[in-house]
């Protein structure tokens, strides 16, 4: 075989190898492009998922517990994040509801001071919403305990206007309708003056200066005698 033929064969072999390498290179390039595309998709999905989680957390931080994070997403990390956010949201929402219930209960402490005698000492401002709650709680307790006399003590209510007076009158009216007698105690001098100046009248309700007087009247009506024990040395 001549040198020329040898050279030709070598060249052909090299050309074949170049073609193979080019093919291999094209394959690798395609794989790399595909991987880059997949990487970009995953990255964007993560970025958007985190953004959505941010939005949900922002709403929760503003007290909106109705929002839900996505749990049914392809990315496992985002799905877990969604689950944790929703669990936190549920716990916060439950804690808020519990606190509200506690506040409601504390706002209407109905006390059974004697058989058939209930006292409701009100403290703080009495708006329409609270007045409605007071009425509901009181009527429920009257029915449950079979109370005959109910004393609404407003010593701790700093301000009584016409709306509050109307709410109190309505409550007392409702007390009568369920078969009990209502009594209003603790109208402070300042409150009494305000009511007179405003021309507000609380009609049809027996009033007493303080809770002690109210209790005495309740015992008198029930025929109960309260005897004060003598102190040693008296």
């Amino acid at each position: 075989m001549s040198d020329k033929t040898n050279e030709k064969n070598k060249l052909e072999t090299l050309e074949k190898r170049v073609q193979e390498l080019e093919k291999e290179n094209a394959g690798l390039k395609a794989t790399l492009e595909q991987e880059a595309q997949e990487h970009e998709k995953v990255s964007m999905d993560l970025a958007i998922g985190l953004s959505e989680a941010f939005v949900v957390l922002q709403k929760i931080s503003q007290g909106d517990f109705s929002v839900r994070a996505s749990e049914d997403v392809e990315n496992e990390l985002l799905a877990r994040l969604g689950v944790v956010i929703n669990r936190t949201n549920d716990a916060l929402s439950a804690a808020k509801a519990q606190t509200q219930n506690m506040i409601k209960e504390l706002a209407t402490p109905v006390i059974r001071v004697w058989d058939e005698v209930l006292v409701l000492p009100l403290i703080g401002t009495l708006d329409s919403q609270r007045a409605q709650h007071v009425m509901e709680t009181l009527l429920e307790r009257i029915t449950k305990d079979g109370a005959r006399i109910v004393i609404l003590d407003i010593t701790g209510v700093p301000y009584v206007d016409s709306l509050v007076a109307a709410n109190i009158a309505q409550t007392m009216e409702a007390v009568k309708l369920v078969g009990a007698e209502g009594m209003l105690t603790g109208i402070r001098a300042q409150v009494a003056q305000t009511l007179v100046k405003m021309g507000v009248k609380i009609t049809g309700v027996e009033t007493k200066s303080n809770l002690a007087e109210g209790l005495k009247e309740a015992f008198r009506r029930l025929g109960v005698k309260a005897i004060q024990e003598k102190q040693p040395g008296d």
Partner: protein, 74 residues
């Protein structure tokens, strides 16, 4: 209303979008964020992000040298 600024130059996507996301707690509804970035997929990614997060991309401007500026209304 002042337009808030965000510099996302020199970082690759999705980091600019994550930086925008991190601004979410500071942005009120209707406020505008201006972002400048030089990531090649920035415009596409921001448009995608805005669509998913229901935000409004106001405009995109090619400032040359791969730099893109945009405004987003929250």
């Amino acid at each position: 209303m002042a337009v808030k600024q965000l510099d996302a130059l020199g970082i690759k996507c999705p980091q600019p979008v994550l930086k925008i996301a991190a601004m979410l707690p500071d942005m009120k509804a209707g406020e505008i964020l201006e972002v400048v970035a030089d990531c090649p997929t920035f415009e596409k990614d921001v448009r995608n992000w805005c669509q998913r997060l229901k935000k409004t991309p106001l405009w995109f401007r090619d400032e040359g040298g791969g730099k893109v500026r945009c405004q987003i209304q929250f």
